[in-house]
């Protein structure tokens, strides 16, 4: 993309992109910590995930403020318009992903007993989301439609894992009614992960829109 005649305009857009990358990196880090926290049953790390969510909310506010400033002061058009409009929506979706990660961490704190088969599927789900988030970082940095497309396709596997966890949990609940509490926690946690998959798909649609101008 050519430089703007007004150089400070380029700087504004560059700063916006940097903020967005910082946000996706923070969300990805939270997801890595979540996997570590659940693997090691660490109350401290789960608590730190919950505390750090405020930084993600702050970054989202900064990005939205930056978008409003660019709309007001630069009146962006064409690619610039699509970039700024999409940055705001991508940021909101990343913030929601952060909320879902925080919610899983909250439920981890009350997780009392484990079920190997469900746990295995749950870890598969978390690993897949982490890999999707890492690729999303690359897709946002390079505005690459092909990467965005391949990320979106992975959501189908998230949905399959979610359905599997639901059926496994229901089976176990019937067999061992005394474990219903713990199992319902897994159900809730996997529901949060499933929502993360949906937010990632929405973000890939905005990446596509930036590049092609079409939804």
């Amino acid at each position: 993309m050519q430089e703007h005649i007004v150089k400070s305009y380029d700087k504004d857009l560059e700063n916006l992109k940097l903020l967005l990358i910082k946000l996706i990196e923070s969300v990805t880090e939270q997801m890595s910590l979540l996997i570590y926290s659940i693997s090691n049953n660490s109350i401290e790390i789960a608590s730190s995930i919950i505390e750090k969510d405020i930084n993600i909310n702050k970054l989202n506010s900064d990005i939205n403020l930056s978008c409003i400033n660019i709309f007001t002061l630069r009146s962006p058009v064409a690619y610039d318009l699509r970039l700024v409009f999409s940055a705001s929506h991508i940021s909101i979706n990343l913030e929601r992903i952060g909320d879902n990660i925080k919610n899983v961490a909250k439920h981890q704190l009350v997780l009392s007993s484990h079920s190997n088969s469900i746990e295995q599927k749950f870890f598969e789900m978390m690993s897949l989301i982490l890999s999707m988030l890492k690729n999303l970082n690359l897709a946002i940095t390079t505005i690459d439609v092909n990467i965005a497309d391949s990320i979106a396709k992975e959501d189908k596997n998230i949905d399959i894992l979610y359905t599997t966890i639901c059926s496994l949990s229901l089976e176990k609940m019937e067999a061992k009614p005394n474990k219903t509490n713990s199992l319902s926690n897994y159900l809730m946690m996997s529901r949060f992960l499933e929502r993360i998959g949906d937010h990632i798909v929405t973000i890939t649609k905005y990446i596509k829109y930036i590049d092609t101008g079409k939804f």
Partner: protein, 255 residues
Amino acid sequence: MSTEVKKITIQNLNVFYNKIQALFDINLYIIEKQVTALIGPSGCGKSTFLRCLNKMNDLIEGCNLSGSITISNQEIINNNINPVLVRTKVGMVFQKANPFIKSIYENIAYPIKIHGMYKDKKDIENKVLESLSKVGLLDEVKNRLHESATLLSGGQQQRLCIARAISINPEVILMDEPCSALDPIATAKIESLIEELSTNFTIIIVTHSMQQAARISQNTAFFHMGNLVEFGKTKEIFNNPKNKRTEDYISGRIG
């Protein structure tokens, strides 16, 4: 949904100033009762193009045109059509307001009389008042209709010129940067007026303000170095232009 009717069709238009070619093989159509904005850097040919539409280039020595321009299916280049007749159908408003050094009233009554539209004094007066009312100027000037038009503010003078242009019932109105010398309030009034007038007239406007083109037009044509680079719906041009030169120009990049 209203159907779009082509009011003006331009085919293979080439314009030369002596040996220098100013426009290269322009093909374009103008939709009836819509606003079409012409954008592009200085010297790109948009004003030259605008002047072709009411035969004003005929007044420039050494200016030669080839190709075809039809307005309501009437060819205006390749025949001996009377330029005055074309300009009756195609009015023009310029960058700088140019009222006659006459009273506000006479500024409008004069062209009505010259074109022989009405002879009866009462009919002329009605038409003057109607034209002033259409541009939202009547309430502002009704108590000083016989004062000199040059005493009006810049924005009022420009609206008076628009009133003068519409008083003789043209089909098309050409506007060459009509707001470039006006403050934001006067500009907003003209823009609002253009929107209202487009229900009855076909309007073509040259503007250097991208935001103005985006605000007021339904169609936009981007000219660069005498070529028509891109023409399409304004929403498409400003959201997702097809051509990289258009993208670079409208977003203020070095092209």
